[in-house]
Symmetry: C2
Subunit: 322 residues, 2 copies
DNA sequence: GTGAAAGCGCTAACAT
DNA sequence: ATGTTAGCGCTTTCAC
């Protein structure tokens, strides 16, 4: 990359001083129309673009959020990202987007990101393990953070929605509920079991071994051929729920008549599938607003006491699938 | 926001010079372990974070892309964004994400974005109308640009895929094809008609009047109750195609038995719905790679001749819906 | 209306 | 191992 064109180059080309170039570039007063056009022409010919660092150093600039998602092809993340970008745009903040799925060196990539932004917003795994030390000094807002964490974050609360779901399913005379989770002993599955137990129903925990399409489809197929096929499936999230519905459709099983399906998240994906997905929805706009509020406190009142976590509640969104 | 903590503050607190602070912060050699820890402690206590502008000015930094999408809740854009982030990450570039749907003042927001990035990547409408002058001096890569444009961009070519689709549909004995487009005289609809005509088939152009769910569903319902209901629908894109399938399912119409449905884009959304969507797919990774290639030429070989446009072809992806 | 000087926060090069 | 000097590119005084 050749040496960058600076304000001095333009000044020399136009035969004026640097300050005059600044005046022309920034539409300031105290400059004659003729010199302004002359300067602007010189700038254009040289392909001059002011350095953001030079300018930022003296003028300061709006804060920047580093938004770290895992994988934008997982529809949860774009919906979150959209809300975060919306909340940031309103405040004039910028959003630097990074994902972890394309990163070959998590720590290195995170270091360069952290150097570019004022605060990082990300999912709960951010700042764990190898990047833990890095974030000792960097403002971080986790979305879906553990309640009671020392670090302020957005806590997502499924309790009320899960209670409503259990009541609803009990009313529907459900007998054999299954929690379909990517791993074992998933908190969502356990919470589901807890609430179903209050209605005298015993939840079978099923682990797919992963959160991908194939694993989900296979697990559902096995469930159907088992001795006691379920009559309702709570999936880990909406995406898995949709995959489960796909597997059910393939097997000729009707939803919700034969098996009910419930997801978690409330993505618009659930509206596009047939039947429409019943889900424990969370309002992403609310989540993003909470995240940005914490980010603002972190950035603007640096050191003035730790901001508090925000809590956002899921709610049962009854649609056609359950 | 209080005055920012600078390297001098840390230097004073630790009783050393600025350079020593730099050495400690950047893990450089030529510093004793004891002073390093002393400096690091002072830095932490003061909540010191190096200014990206100060550092960027002297060290230079990686280029930054401004990625402008319209709306991340439209699944086309996250899939594009994912690919762009992937391609950028590999090169160590950063991506500043902005959308237009949340922008209250397009021009103002675009001006601040442009000041933060080295090159803008966006959809065809970027840099049109009120922002046209702004982009006279700013590198811009349009994805889906018009062939023959003076400005290098990524041109998406539907021709071959459309020819394949027409041949396929003709073989399937289709009789009453419809192009379901948001506007009138849409190029995609016209291209479809052109190719179907070569098989002696006449395409009816239908405009929904918009690209939202309701409009699409209404249009499909009207189509079904019309005098000559279609037996195949080419939708403007995958999202509209999925909505159309939803409307068909509601009406009790079987896909593909009664009506075939085809989308455009090749989003993973098409795999999640039942039946799976046949579509004119474009490889987003290829698109993003092409966009970044142009961006690199624009940024690194500034002024050394205009880079050429890249062309990416759609291809017919036969799945279950047609 | 225009130019000269000073300084934003940082690091590289050169002292010591 | 540490400090001094210079300068990155820009805008803000303050002269003229």
């Amino acid at each position: 990359m050749r040496r960058r064109v600076t304000i001095d180059d333009v000044a020399a080309a136009a035969g004026v001083s640097r300050q005059t170039v600044t005046r022309a570039m920034n539409d300031m007063a105290e400059i004659s129309a003729s010199t302004r056009t002359r300067v602007l022409e010189a700038a254009r010919e040289l392909h001059y673009r002011p350095s953001r660092h030079g300018r930022g150093l003296v003028k300061g600039d709006q804060p920047t959020i580093g938004l770290v998602v895992h994988d934008l092809t997982n529809p949860y993340f774009p919906e979150l990202a959209s809300a975060v970008v919306g909340a940031a745009t309103v405040r004039g903040w910028h959003v630097v987007l990074a994902d972890t799925i394309h990163s070959h060196d998590r720590l290195a990539d995170m270091i360069t990101l952290v150097g570019q932004v004022d605060v990082v917003v990300g999912y709960p795994a951010i700042g764990q393990n190898e990047t833990e030390r890095l974030f000792e000094d960097v403002p971080l807002v986790r979305i879906g953070s553990e309640p009671g964490s020392a670090r302020a974050g957005v806590e997502l609360d499924l309790t009320a929605a899960m209670a409503d779901l259990a009541a609803h399913l009990s009313q529907q005379q459900v007998r054999r509920p299954v929690a379909l989770m990517p791993g074992i002993d998933d908190v969502r599955g356990l919470l589901f079991a807890e609430h179903m137990a209050q209605h005298g129903l015993d939840v079978t925990q099923v682990s797919t071994g992963g959160d991908q399409l194939e694993e989900t489809v296979t697990a559902v197929r096995e469930l159907l051929t088992g001795t006691t096929p379920p009559d309702v499936i709570l999936a880990f999230n909406d995406r898995m729920a949709c995959w489960a519905m796909k597997a059910l459709a393939r097997a000729g099983v009707r939803v919700p008549d034969d098996v009910r399906v419930v997801g978690v998240d409330g993505l618009s994906l659930g509206e596009i599938v047939t039947p429409e997905l019943t889900t424990l929805a969370v309002d992403m706009v609310e989540v993003a607003a909470a995240a940005i509020e914490i980010a603002v406190e972190l950035v603007e009142k640096e050191g003035a006491g730790r901001p508090a976590s925000r809590r956002v509640e899921h709610r049962l969104l009854l649609r056609a699938s359950a």
